[in-house]
Symmetry: C2
Subunit: 234 residues, 2 copies
DNA sequence: ATATAACCGGTTATCGATAATCGTTGACAA
DNA sequence: TTGTCAACGATTATCGATAACCGGTTATAT
């Protein structure tokens, strides 16, 4: 068996795949020795992979008790949108100038999202949605901003979230929501672009909140949305 | 040797201390086997500690090449302020309601900062500065926001930054800059509180920018001199 | 009956040793 | 001089084994 990269990296990818595909469900234990035996390797790289995944928030470990797939609860999903909104607002403001050069790419992403939407393909839609946002983030030129945004693991979450949303609200054409942003970029106005980015993410959060409320019945006040009262109005 | 917690955790703390105190300088290699021997333990916990410190951005590793103390360059220091500003703006807006209960604590922190400032004690000043901001962050109630803010390692950076700033601009009473924020909290107005938080952080960023422009740049931010600002004055 | 202590299976945390890989050095040829 | 490459020393990546630890269970004492 030729290993091209470090073993722990391969283990990490395989485990992430397992989690994404649902072969490991939230709450499941991840026993180092078992995984090691199943993969025919020793405990060390497995352990290392698991620790990496802790940093990625996919896994949680308690000392001497082991690792398990992290529960992503409603609260966490909803709390993330206000934070994303502010980060992407900043990104939009900073990016305008450089983003015009990527307008074609952005509009292509929206087009592909629309196609995926019509095909009911949540995974592809999530991929291009993330691509759209990431392109703007990277155009911002602020490396810290990019890394901070990455640390929220938006890529992984978006897939889960969109699957959920498309199942419950098949009427919503999320793809078209991106048009005000491309327009704002075309206008070259930083304030406007930041505003549209923030609005876009906040609106998405509002929808998700509504989905959760409808699904869970009684809604409780969530302070994370204190600045966003419409989130509860539905 | 009785170990109260896991070994790798102790190693991590010791290494962080070493870095903060300048016993390891940016760029220095951190050789697993050497550290292990010096501490009288095996390679594994050292390795684990180093990987943790990568997630904390204190250390960077390249596969098969090892770990070294991360360079904190001027760009990174300056890029962080816009991001902080937006995160703390959100925190201020969300926190107002719950933060009033902490007003005494916040004002005490400002008082202690003032004292530390007068004593020229950058480390203590940084500690209370961070405490002030962290209190508001935690009052926001948004766990994701808190974790995101923490991921910026503001605590560690503030110490380095303040040491530098106090050496170059002893005229600036940073402590008093916090009064508009406590006032805003007292007013109970989320918008105002968010605005003051954002303004505060952005102004700090502007000052730091000025310091960089005036000074020689990144080299001045060597943490090695952090606890002894006069050392580089010669 | 209840509390406490000793035990046990399963797993993590750590160890010491080895294999794989990197950067460098120096010989040797063009 | 310059370039290639084999060998070397240093260090990381991985291994297999063991010690430490956790939770539950059984045994024992109050």
């Amino acid at each position: 068996m030729i290993r091209r990269v470090v073993l722990s990296e391969q283990v990490k990818e395989e485990l992430l795949d397992d989690i994404m595909a649902g072969r490991f469900k939230p709450g499941d234990r991840l026993v180092e020795s078992q995984i090691a035996k199943r993969m025919g390797i020793s405990q060390s790289p497995v352990r290392e992979a698991l620790r990496d995944m802790v940093a990625m928030r996919f896994v949680e470990v308690e000392p001497h008790k082991g690792a398990r797939v992290r529960e992503i609860d409603q609260r966490e999903v909803l709390e993330i949108y206000p934070v994303r909104a502010r980060l992407e607002e900043l990104a939009g403001q900073l990016a305008v100038e450089r983003a015009v050069a990527h307008l074609d790419e952005l509009e292509d992403a929206v087009f592909r999202m629309t196609k995926a939407f019509e095909a009911g393909d949540a995974r592809t839609m999530a991929r291009w949605d993330v691509h759209f946002h990431r392109t703007i983030l990277e155009a911002s030129g602020n490396q810290i901003l990019i890394e901070t945004w990455n640390s929220l693991m938006i890529e992984a979450r978006t897939y889960v979230t969109l699957s959920n949303l498309m199942a419950r609200r098949p009427d919503l054409d999320l793809a078209s929501w991106h048009h005000p942003i491309t327009e704002a970029i075309r206008s070259g106005d930083p304030e406007r672009c930041g505003f549209e980015m923030r609005k876009h993410v906040e609106e998405f959060g509002v929808v998700m909140n509504g989905v959760f409320d409808a699904g869970e019945g009684a809604a409780e006040f969530d302070p994370a949305f204190a600045d966003n009262p419409e989130a509860k109005a539905s």
